[in-house]
Every structure is written in structure tokens, then in C-alpha cells.
């Protein structure tokens, strides 16, 4: 947690500069092993000021659209329970106010509203 805070601050430092220093993080989903380099971790990606995330996430500049257009690609986040990084795929994580890895989502199923419970159950059946 400490570390990610520092990284977040670094992210803020970058935001104030015109040419952000290229710091990249390695992101690997603990469940499906998706492995990519990302440009930022946090809630306010400096390369897209219109978008703010509710929960700190691993973000890259959208590789499929031209640079400078402010488009981003959120790959995933650290699970709010076990702190493992997980990707946004519905087979790996669930978002409800925070990010939960699917394993933790299952164990803390009782805290979710009924709609989310159903969703988790559905995924579990698969």
C-alpha cells in the first residue's frame, strides 16, 4: 500500500509537467496472467483529465487511438481485499465501489447487494 501511494504521488508530479516523465509499471493479472506495461497507476491519469477513477487502477494511454486524444485503457487494479493486481475482465474481477478479485468477491459475497450476489453466483456457475 505504501508503495502504491508513492507511485500515486509520482503520478501527480507527472501531471503538472508538460512532458510527463515516462515511468512504466508492469501489470500482471494474478488470475489470468495478462501482462502489460502501463503508464500510470492511480485515479487521475495525467493524460486524460476528463476521466477520474473511483478506485486506483493501472492505466495505459490507449494504444489503439492516436496519441494526444486523451483516450485511456484501464487494465485493472489491486484487489481491495487481498491486494493482488487483477484485470478488468469479468472472469478476473468485479467492480462494486472498489475492485474485488473474483476470489475475494466470492468470500465476501454476503456484503454485496442482491444484484451483485446474483452476478457472482452466475460467474461461479460458469
Amino acid at each position: 500500500m505504501e508503495e502504491s501511494k508513492i507511485k500515486e504521488e509520482l503520478g501527480d508530479v507527472k501531471k503538472t509537467e508538460d512532458e510527463p516523465i515516462q515511468i512504466s509499471y508492469n501489470f500482471r493479472c494474478a488470475l489470468c496472467n495478462v501482462n502489460e506495461k502501463v503508464h500510470y497507476k492511480g485515479t487521475t491519469p495525467p493524460f486524460s483529465r476528463n476521466i477520474v477513477l473511483k478506485y486506483p487502477s493501472y492505466i495505459m494511454k490507449d494504444p489503439f487511438s492516436p496519441p494526444g486524444k486523451g483516450e485511456i485503457l484501464v487494465l485493472g487494479a489491486d484487489c481491495s481485499v487481498c491486494d493482488r493486481p487483477v484485470c478488468v475482465s469479468k472472469h478476473c474481477s468485479l467492480f462494486f465501489v472498489k475492485t474485488f478479485c473474483l476470489d475475494c468477491a466470492k468470500t465476501s459475497i454476503h456484503t454485496f447487494p442482491i444484484e451483485i450476489k446474483n452476478k457472482v453466483v452466475q460467474l461461479r456457475e460458469k
Binding site: 495478462v34 502489460e36 486524460s48 483529465r49 476528463n50 476521466i51 477520474v52 477513477l53 473511483k54 478506485y55 487502477s57 495505459m60 490507449d62 494504444p63 489503439f64 487511438s65 492516436p66 496519441p67 494526444g68 486524444k69 486523451g70 483516450e71 485511456i72 485503457l73 484501464v74 487494465l75 487494479a77 484485470c87 478488468v88 475482465s89 467492480f95 462494486f96 465501489v97 475492485t99 456484503t111 447487494p113 442482491i114 444484484e115 451483485i116
Partner: protein, 1161 residues
């Protein structure tokens, strides 16, 4: 208007009614809402839609300081929004759900809101926008908040989409056969010097291996490709996979363009270009060089292999990775056995393929004209129709040997397709435009199969997905080369087993497939295991020159993968010596070095260098354009020579000087069209010209110009300064062009997104495309106009045009000098033959025809003598059956090509005697210069006394001056920076002056009128042509042909060399020539200058004129000053008679002594 008042009224009424309706609704809404928000909610959700606020919301989005996903995809977003609203309405939920706003703050743990499942929030500031329509509810902040939530949902949706795209990409990469070998490949490259990765097409090696190595830490990776297109498409693909498609981490570099920058880590590069990088001192700092597709065995690929094999011994910081199909891996392994190459085999992803030999009974009857019978191929289509249900997908690929065969099959298959309605027939070969080629990738309608009829281009270079059936004719048309006659042959061969297997494999790339081999299994077993490498069947001169310039000291001992045929090497070396690119002991000359830098074949490169040395500065573009025109593929379409309309349309630009000049004038005409901004596409189409080629020509010419400038062989012209008005005009133009280019790119990317579906009737496709092409933006035209402004085009036109006068003569002579000894003479019986039977003879290859599409092939009479051209009153005593004329012509040609017959391709007419005397490598003459043999091949007889001598003497002098001019140009290009040479330079006559005088003199010489006969010598004639070396010969001293040249006897023919090219007194005399000589000798000759009258032989007369004539001697005092700078063998000399110290050559010393004696005595 007046006649139809009713419909208008009705529509007006309609409009009014609809407006009042919406008015009512709005009023109703407002009324309902004002007293209590909650009670009106139900009605409101039915009616409310953000779509009604689209204009206002768009404004807010677009005015927001930074762009974002929504702003970039506005149309897409609104589609999404509509769908989202409909979905809410269907499930009975309100669109304006304020619930979330109020409750999210007051922690409702178990209360579910959809927005809690979205990680994104959007922070666009609300702006109070004035609403024009007063009847509607104003957009307020609360509503906007709801709207932002929808945006967040949209962003989340888009994010998932993109994430899936990324995941799919990674999965596809992981799924490639080569992926399993990733760590093995990486560690092999890290630990070994040379690694061979063998895997079949589709295993992913070309795209993945560079990435593996980059990820493993290699910083500068070069990956060669035999084809330029592959460089571009691979770099695009790899950049996409590395998620760097918008920067330059992955780049390419090909002959005309590069995307490589300092940031580039992986560069796809053509083989030829990498080789040239090796020749320059600044080879980029590669840490890995990957050679891809080495199994194709192209000339450059083979040579590159050899060069790199040597390189890695001196550079242990470079790793070598060889990638090939699984063909003949052993060959490469053995080749690098000393370097102990590691071999990694990647099995291809191939499904089982059912193999059928001779599926259709083919009668083995030799047809009269060897016409191909398309029936077996159609029968296989029938067989497929009968055997496989049409709902089982899978297309057919037929391999044929050449374009003609493809056309024959396509015609027959098309007939069948029209009946069966289950096929779309598509040809595929490199002669088609890219647009036509791309059609093979489009999708057929349901229940219809594509039938692609292709050359071996689809064997490895073009990969088409979805092929289930392959039909293999077993044949290929390939160029072979006879180095002795310098003739290329396009012949049909049986393919190799490797090739047959490659073709078969194309059926099993996407699923199990079927392969039909038209030939028998017996035939297969008789095929060669591997195809003949290019090095054994193409001209080697360019390659050997390149090798020599790269510092390969002995090309014969170069470690080729397969040694080229010995005589092919020897003949190529001879050719290079004849061109003066190599010395007699095979050292590279400065001319050779200049030629090696130019990426066109040796003779064309020579035309450029000679042209830039000889032509006036403002006409050098003509040499560039001409060379480029001859260096690219034919500009003519297949229709060009079949369609009468096309031929007619080209008539005004045709030049009776021949094909090269015609090409040049067509190009100038096209440039004129471009200058007037009349497009060009339609102009080209009418004339049967592929406009694409003319763009290529322009590009190549510009490329060659800059190469010549880089090598100091051409001046860099200062661009003319533009006036401010011109600049403004150009600025506006550029803006307009950039706009058009942007439009084009946008449209192209939209087209790409739409999947193209083929229409059943393939002819219809062609037609609809034609309209498309004509109306659409022409990107090439746009780009052409961006790089060439009006002034530039004007200067190109004036520089390139050479339609008459001295410019034309000089251009022709330059080209002829470059192409020599590629000349041909007419057969003596051509007068009696039809157009198609006109025969010509070249030095190495007798009996060749004029290509039917060439200018002279169509109008050979231009080359023949008319009655009026023939001199009927011959000198007394002269007897010959041959016509005596001043108008004999020979053909100078670019190449010989054998298809159905041996043909001369790209020819140009030249005056015979003048050309031969100026350019022949050896000229043999009798005592009286009346019988002159050029290159032991052509005999010229000059029955009028002294005419032969005068012509030869002029030619010899011009040759020396020309040679000196070219050498000076080359010297100036690579100056040895010493004070002495600088001094020398300053004293020289100005280069331009020399050039001007020479071109005046050469064009006068080419126009000189001399009567002679021309005869081709056969082996029997040659046996009795020379006197032999028995008789001793006295030296000619002083030698008027070349002062200071040491005469030496010719050991076989007899006679003596009086210049490097002329052997005097070795040709035997006939009765008339002997008599003529005797007569000349016996009649006293009067010198026109000093009026002395003496009995002198022709050569003695020359000696008198140039050395002993008193008028000459008087002038001598001033002469040496001028002459001395040019003489490298000059030395200080103190004359004992006049006591002067002079700086002179031995010959001059001799002359001076004589002169001194004369004046003193």
C-alpha cells in the same frame, strides 16, 4: 412549380401538424413537472431523451478543454446512448434517475445502483447553454449529472471493448506455433552467434521473433525482407502488436522511403538496402540482424548471407538470426557449420491435406500450338461442386505458370461460373494493380466459393486465408539468363518438389484441405528437390560490381551458398571491364565506384554518370528520366498494345528514334498534364499506361538525382526563390492538398472497416470500381502535387524533354555509350520480308526479332534505306553488291528477351559508322583507312579516299576528349585534396565550356555525311580478314591519333595499335582498296595550310598536318602553355637549342626539338 401546388400544400400541412404535436407534448411535460417532480416521473421517462439535447450536449462536450473518448467518437456515443435509453425504457426504469445522486452520499451499503459498478467518473464542467427552443425544459445541472453517468457507462463499455481487443491480440500471439519456442529462441540468440529458425508460413516467426528479441533486451534489431511491401506491412503489424503503432519504435526502410528514426528499435529493411548500409561507413549499430525468407534464394539474400557470414567474424557484437521455411534447412546449417549455427525448427500449423494426383484424365496429345487446355481445371471445379456441399466454406486456389495461362483458365472458369452460379473467379499476378490484387482478400457471398487463379506469387509472398482446395499445374514460368548472349529467357519449367509441397500446404492453413496435382506421382518424383537459386539464372554484373565496391577482393572466391556458374561470373566480369567499371586486372575504377552507388543495372547507371558528365546542367533531367523510365517495369498495361484506341492515343508522343525516346516524350506529356492539373489518371487510361509506374518513375528519378548529388556527380540546384505572391499561392495550394489527403485517409480507413463483399458477377465489380476510381480522391495525384509544385514540374519538363537538335543527339549518344556493345544490325534481306519477319543480328546472338510492341517492331521501314539514300554512282574501280549510303543505321538496345522468339527489347536507332567508330572497343583498319572492322564483327568500307580516315580520326579525338571529360568529372567528385590538384583545377578550362564544345563537336560528328557499306562478318570472313603477325610493322611516330601513345603490334591480327582501340594496318586489302591506296600515294597531295605538295600516304598526310606543317610550327610558341597542365607525364626540360626551360611531355619535347631545329636552320 405552379403546376403542382397540391403536394406542396400537403407536406406543409404535415409539417405544421407534427410541430404542434410536439408543442403539445412539451407543454404537457412542463405543466406536469412543476407541481411535484415525483408524480410526473412516470410520464417524463416515457418522453424524456437526451437526444433532444444533442446539440447543447455536444457543445459542452466539444468545448471541454481536453478531448476524450466521447469527443473522439461522438457519433458512436449517440448510437450507444439511444440504445441505452431504449433498454432503460424497456425495463421500465427512468432515464433521469436522480436517486443515485442523492443516495450515494448517504452510504446505502445494500442499495444497488448500476453506477457503483462503474469505476469511471467523468468530470466535464456543466455549462449553462442558452436554449433556443423555449417550449422545452432547460438542461440543468442535475440532468447533466445523469448524462455524465451515462458517459461513464459508455467509457466503461468502450474500455471493456478495447481490453478484450488487447486480450484477443495477446491470445492470438500466444497461440502461434512459434510462441512455444520463445525462450528457446531467445536463449539461443543470447548464447550463439548464428541461429537458424525454420518454420513454415503462418508459424508467426516473421512477426514474433523480432519482438521476442526486443523484449529480451536487444536494442537495435534489423530484419530483412526480400520484398518492399513486406517491410511496410510487417512493421505496421509488429508496431500494432507492440502497442506502438503511433510512434516509431518499430520502423521500416526501403528504397524510396523510411519511417526509421533514432527511437527505432526494430527496423524492417530490404536486403538490398542493408547491403548498401554495409558498404557505407556508418552501418547502424545493429545488435541483431535477422534475415527472413532466406529459403527464397534471391540474389541479394544469398549475397547478404555470404557478407554476414564474413561480418560476424570481425564483429562479435552482432548476432545473426536466419529465418526460413522448412525447406532445405540442412543447406543453411552446413553453410554455417564453422560458426556452429543453432537450429530451431518450429512445426507449422498445418491441417491434414488430402492429396490427389492426376484427378482428371488428361489426354496426352500434343496440341498444335502448345495451347493450354483449361478443361481439366473446370472439371475440378465441377468435382468440388458435386462432392462438397456448398454450405461448407472453402475457396479454391489454382497455380498456373504465367499470365497467359491464368487468362485462359479464368475465361473458361468464368463461363462455368456463370452457369453454376457458385463461383467467383479472380486472377492474381504481379502485373495487376494493387487494387485488383486486393480483391482476392474480399469475401464471397454465402454459398459461393472464390476461385483464385494465380502465379507462384501465392506460393509464399501472398497468403490468402480460407483456401481449402488447391489445384497445382506443376508449372512455373521463370526467367533464365544466358550470360554469353546476354539474353534473358522466359520459359516454362516443371516446379521443384519443394515448390509443389509449398503449393499443397496452402490448402491446409485454416482447416483440413484437398490438393489436386494435375500431373502424375511419377512426374513428382522426377522433379528437382529444390528450385534453382536466382544466382544461377540472373545477370550477375550488378551484383559483382556491388561486391567489388563492398571490398570483396576476389569475387570468384566469395563464399556463396551456391556458387554461381563460372562462365556467368566470367562474362559478368568481362561486361564490367567493357563498361570501364573494372580495370583489366579487376580493380574497381572510380567509374565503377560511382556506378555501384546507383540502384539500377550497370548500363543504366553508366548512362547516368556519363550523362551527368556530358549533358549540359539544364538537360541532365533527361538522362535521369530516361534511365528511370528504363529502370522500372514497363509503363504499359496489357491493353496498351492490343487496343487500337490506346495505340492511336499514344501516336503524337511516339518518337521515330525508338522506344526510349518515346518513353521520355510520353513522360513529358504526362508531366504537362500534371502541370495543368488535369489529373492524369484518365489521360493514362486512354493511352494504356499504368499511371502508378509514372509516379514510380518520378520517384526513382528524384532518388537517382539525390544519389548523384550525394556523390558529387551532379550539382545541387539552388531552388529558385519564390515571390511572396507565389509563396502565398503555394501555401494555399498545400493547405488544400493536405485537406484532400486527410479526407482520403479518413475515407480509406472507413473503407477498411467495412468488410468488402464480392458481387457475384465479377465483371460488375470491375465496372463499379471503375466509377469509384474516377470519382474518388486520387491520393497519388495529391501526393505528387505536394512534392512537386508547378515550378518544379515545369523545370522537370524542360529538363527532361529532348525532342530534337543537339539535346536529342547527345542524349542518344550518351545512352548508346552506356549500352554499348548492345547494338544490332539489320539482316541484309529485310527488304524482302514482312514486318514480323524483320531479322536483326547482335554481336553475340544472330537472328533476333524486333519485339512486336516496340516502335521499330511496328514500323521497321524507318530503319531501312530508301532508293534515294543509296549512292548509285560509285567511285571507279569500286565493286560491291552492298548498298553504298550515308544513311546506314544500327539499333542500340536495352535487352534481349526470349519468349516465343528471341526479341530485341527497347531499341533506339543510331547512325551506324559514326556510332561504331566512336564506341567500338576494337577498330581494325587497313593501310588506307578504307576498310574498317569494328569489334571483329562489322566491316565498313569507305570507297571515297580519305573519308574513312577523316571519320575515324575525328572519332578518335572525340573519344579522347570525352574520356577526359568523364574522368575529370569523376576526379572532381572525389578530389584528392592537395594543393597541386587545386592549382590544376584553377588553370583548367572551365568544365562547362569543355562540355559545351564537346557536345557541339559530337553532334556535328554524328551528322557528318560519309558514304560507306556495312557488312556483318561471319566466321569464314574473319579467317581471311587479317594480315596476321608475320610481317613486321614500323611504328607510327609521331602518332597523330594519340600523341605519346606507344605503338605496339597486335600479336594475332598483325598491324599495330595506334590507340587503345585502333589497330592500324591489320586488315587485308582487296583489289579496289589496294588500288585506291596506291593511287592516293602516287598523286601529290597539297597541304591546305602550308601549300606544300608531296606524295604522302593517308597517315603521313595526318602526320604532316599535325606535326611538321610549317603553319603548325609557327603557332607552337604559345601552344605548350595551354597543353601542359593536362599531362601527367610532363617533366621539366631544358632545350639545348633555344636555352629555354620548359615543362613538357616526352612527345612535346620531341616536337619542340624538331621545331627548334626547323626555326634555327
Amino acid at each position: 412549380m405552379r403546376r403542382s401546388p397540391r403536394p406542396r400544400k400537403r407536406s406543409e400541412y404535415k409539417r405544421r401538424r407534427s410541430r404542434s404535436q410536439s408543442h403539445d407534448r412539451d407543454r404537457h411535460k412542463i405543466k406536469k413537472r412543476s407541481p411535484s417532480a415525483s408524480s410526473s416521473q412516470q410520464t417524463e421517462t416515457e418522453l424524456f431523451s437526451f437526444v433532444n439535447y444533442k446539440r447543447e450536449l455536444n457543445k459542452i462536450i466539444l468545448y471541454s478543454c481536453e478531448s476524450n473518448v466521447v469527443a473522439n467518437n461522438l457519433d458512436d456515443f449517440w448510437v450507444f446512448l439511444k440504445k441505452y435509453e431504449t433498454m432503460l425504457q424497456k425495463s421500465g426504469k427512468p432515464i433521469l434517475d436522480y436517486q443515485y445522486q442523492t443516495q450515494s452520499d448517504s452510504e446505502g451499503e445494500n442499495k444497488f445502483s448500476k453506477y457503483d459498478c462503474i469505476n469511471f467518473t467523468t468530470s466535464i464542467k456543466f455549462v449553462d447553454v442558452v436554449v433556443d427552443d423555449k417550449r422545452r425544459r432547460k438542461l440543468d445541472k442535475m440532468m447533466f449529472q445523469v448524462f455524465l453517468n451515462i458517459i461513464s457507462i459508455y467509457i466503461d463499455f468502450k474500455n471493456k471493448e478495447k481490453f478484450e481487443k488487447l486480450k484477443k491480440l495477446r491470445l492470438a500471439q500466444k497461440d502461434l506455433p512459434v510462441a512455444k519456442y520463445r525462450s528457446e529462441i531467445v536463449s539461443a540468440v543470447q548464447n550463439e552467434r548464428v541461429v537458424v529458425v525454420a518454420g513454415d508460413t503462418g508459424c508467426g516467426k516473421s512477426t514474433q521473433v523480432p519482438q521476442y528479441l526486443h523484449d529480451a533486451g536487444f536494442q537495435n534489431i534489423a530484419c530483412t525482407q526480400p520484398r518492399r511491401i513486406a517491410c511496410i506491412s510487417l512493421s505496421k503489424r509488429v508496431a500494432y502488436e507492440m502497442l506502438t503503432q503511433f510512434d516509431t519504435k518499430v520502423g521500416y526502410q526501403i528504397r524510396f522511403e523510411k519511417s526509421r528514426t533514432a527511437d527505432t528499435k526494430i527496423c524492417f529493411i530490404t536486403e538490398g538496402l542493408l547491403l548498401r548500409q554495409m558498404s557505407s561507413e556508418n552501418l547502424p549499430n545493429y545488435d541483431v540482424i535477422i534475415l527472413d525468407e532466406i529459403h527464397e534464394r534471391h540474389l541479394m539474400g544469398d549475397f547478404l548471407l555470404g557478407v554476414l557470414k564474413c561480418l560476424i567474424h570481425s564483429r562479435d557484437d552482432i548476432k545473426l538470426v536466419l529465418m526460413s521455411a522448412t525447406i532445405n534447412i540442412k543447406l543453411f546449417e552446413d553453410y554455417f557449420s564453422a560458426e556452429s549455427a543453432a537450429v530451431i525448427q518450429v512445426p507449422g500449423r498445418l491441417y491434414p491435406i488430402e492429396l490427389n494426383y492426376k484427378p482428371i484424365f488428361i489426354e496426352e496429345k500434343p496440341t498444335r500450338d502448345d495451347r493450354l487446355d483449361p478443361q481439366p481445371y473446370v472439371q475440378i471445379m465441377q468435382l468440388i461442386d458435386n462432392k462438397y456441399p456448398s454450405d461448407e466454406r472453402g475457396d479454391l486456389l489454382i497455380f498456373m505458370s504465367g499470365v497467359q495461362e491464368i487468362t485462359a483458365i479464368c475465361d473458361a472458369a468464368q463461363q462455368y461460373a456463370e452457369k453454376s452460379k457458385s463461383w467467383i473467379v479472380l486472377p492474381l499476378h504481379s502485373g495487376l494493380s494493387l487494387l485488383e490484387q486486393d480483391k482476392v482478400f474480399d469475401y464471397p457471398p454465402e454459398g459461393v466459393r472464390k476461385c483464385i487463379v494465380s502465379t507462384n506469387i501465392a506460393e509464399t509472398s501472398v497468403t490468402i486465408d480460407g483456401i481449402r482446395f488447391v489445384v497445382d499445374s506443376g508449372k512455373v514460368k521463370e526467367m533464365s539468363y544466358d550470360s554469353t548472349t546476354k539474353m534473358q529467357r522466359l520459359k516454362e519449367f516443371w516446379i521443384s518438389q519443394a515448390s509443389a509441397d509449398q503449393r499443397k500446404g496452402r490448402a491446409g492453413r485454416t482447416g483440413p484441405g484437398v490438393c489436386y496435382r494435375i500431373y502424375s506421382e511419377q512426374q513428382y518424383s522426377e522433379m528437382d528437390p529444390f528450385s534453382t537459386p536466382e544466382v544461377s539464372r540472373v545477370p550477375l554484373a550488378s551484383l559483382l560490381l556491388l561486391m567489388s565496391s563492398l571490398g570483396v577482393s576476389d569475387v570468384r572466391r566469395f563464399p556463396f551458398l551456391d556458387a554461381p556458374p563460372e562462365d556467368s561470373v566470367e562474362n559478368a566480369l568481362l561486361e564490367l571491364k567493357q563498361h570501364g567499371a573494372l580495370t583489366s586486372n579487376e580493380k574497381l575504377t572510380s567509374l565503377g565506384r560511382a556506378l555501384a552507388n546507383l540502384p539500377v543495372e550497370v548500363s543504366l547507371a553508366k548512362a547516368l554518370v556519363v550523362g551527368s558528365a556530358t549533358l549540359p546542367p539544364h538537360k541532365r533531367d533527361s538522362a535521369l528520366a530516361l534511365t528511370a523510365a528504363l529502370g522500372i517495369r514497363s509503363i504499359y498495361t496489357t491493353r496498351a498494345h492490343r487496343d487500337f484506341e490506346c495505340e492511336n492515343a499514344r501516336k503524337p508522343e511516339e518518337s521515330d528514334h525508338g522506344d526510349p525516346i518515346t518513353l521520355l516524350s510520353l513522360y513529358c506529356a504526362w508531366l504537362t498534364v500534371k502541370a495543368e492539373e488535369r489529373g492524369g489518371k484518365a489521360w493514362c487510361k486512354r493511352r494504356g499506361i499504368e499511371e502508378q509506374r509514372l509516379y514510380e518513375l518520378t520517384k526513382l528519378a528524384a532518388q537517382l538525382r539525390s544519389l548523384l548529388q550525394d556523390n558529387n556527380l551532379m550539382e545541387t540546384m539552388e531552388p529558385e526563390t519564390m515571390s511572396s505572391a507565389e509563396r502565398a499561392l503555394r501555401h494555399g495550394q498545400m493547405k488544400h492538398l493536405k485537406d484532400m489527403r486527410r479526407q482520403y485517409k479518413q475515407k480509406a480507413s472507413e473503407d477498411l472497416k467495412r468488410k468488402k463483399r464480392l458481387k457475384m458477377d465479377s465483371w460488375e465489380i470491375v465496372d463499379s470500381n471503375k466509377d469509384d476510381e474516377d470519382n474518388a480522391l486520387d491520393i497519388r495525384d495529391i501526393e505528387f502535387r505536394m512534392t512537386n509544385d508547378a515550378k518544379r514540374i515545369q523545370s522537370l519538363i524542360s529538363g527532361a524533354s529532348a525532342s530534337s537538335g543537339r539535346d536529342l543527339i547527345m542524349l542518344k549518344v550518351v545512352l548508346c555509350r552506356a549500352l554499348y556493345p548492345q547494338v544490332a544490325v539489320a539482316d541484309e534481306f529485310n527488304h524482302f520480308k514482312s514486318i514480323s519477319e524483320q531479322l536483326y543480328h547482335t554481336w553475340s546472338k544472330p537472328f533476333v526479332f524486333l519485339h512486336p510492341t516496340s516502335y521499330f517492331g511496328k514500323s521497321p521501314r524507318v530503319l531501312q534505306l530508301t532508293e534515294a539514300d543509296i549512292q548509285t554512282e560509285v567511285p571507279v574501280g569500286y565493286k560491291s553488291k552492298l548498298p553504298l549510303s550515308a544513311k546506314h543505321q544500327i539499333l542500340c538496345y536495352l535487352s534481349l528477351l526470349e519468349t516465343t522468339k528471341p526479341y530485341i527489347v527497347n531499341s533506339m536507332r543510331m547512325p551506324a559508322a559514326q556510332t561504331l567508330m566512336l564506341l567500338a572497343h576494337t577498330i581494325d583498319t587497313n593501310m588506307g583507312f578504307t576498310r574498317i572492322v569494328c569489334d571483329s564483327w562489322l566491316l565498313l568500307e569507305f570507297p571515297y579516299p580519305e573519308t574513312g580516315l577523316n571519320l575515324l580520326f575525328k572519332a578518335a579525338k572525340l573519344r579522347q576528349r570525352w574520356e577526359a571529360l568523364i574522368n575529370r568529372r569523376l576526379e572532381d567528385a572525389n578530389p584528392t585534396k592537395s594543393v597541386e590538384s587545386e592549382l590544376k583545377k584553377s588553370k583548367h578550362m572551365s568544365y562547362d565550356e569543355l562540355q559545351y564544345e564537346l557536345s557541339c563537336d559530337i553532334s556535328a560528328y554524328m551528322n557528318s555525311e560519309v558514304y560507306y557499306t556495312l557488312k556483318r562478318l561471319l566466321l569464314g570472313d574473319l579467317k581471311v580478314m587479317y594480315v596476321g603477325n608475320e610481317e613486321p610493322h614500323c611504328a607510327i611516330d609521331p602518332n597523330p591519333f594519340e600523341e605519346g601513345f606507344e605503338c605496339h603490334p597486335h600479336e594475332k591480327k598483325g598491324g599495330i595499335y595506334i590507340t587503345d582501340n585502333i589497330v592500324f594496318n591489320c586488315v587485308v586489302d582487296t583489289e579496289w582498296s589496294y588500288n585506291s591506296y596506291e593511287e592516293t600515294y602516287s598523286v601529290p597531295w597539297t597541304c591546305s595550310s602550308c601549300e606544300i605538295s608531296l606524295c604522302l600516304s593517308p597517315i603521313e598526310r595526318l602526320q604532316h598536318k599535325y606535326f611538321t606543317c610549317s603553319s603548325k610550327v609557327e603557332k607552337k610558341e604559345e601552344a605548350p602553355k595551354e597543353a601542359r597542365q593536362n599531362r601527367p607525364n610532363a617533366k621539366e626540360f631544358k632545350c639545348e637549342i633555344c636555352n629555354e626551360t620548359l615543362y613538357m611531355t616526352p612527345v612535346e619535347i620531341l616536337k619542340h626539338k624538331k621545331g627548334c631545329k626547323n626555326t634555327n636552320s
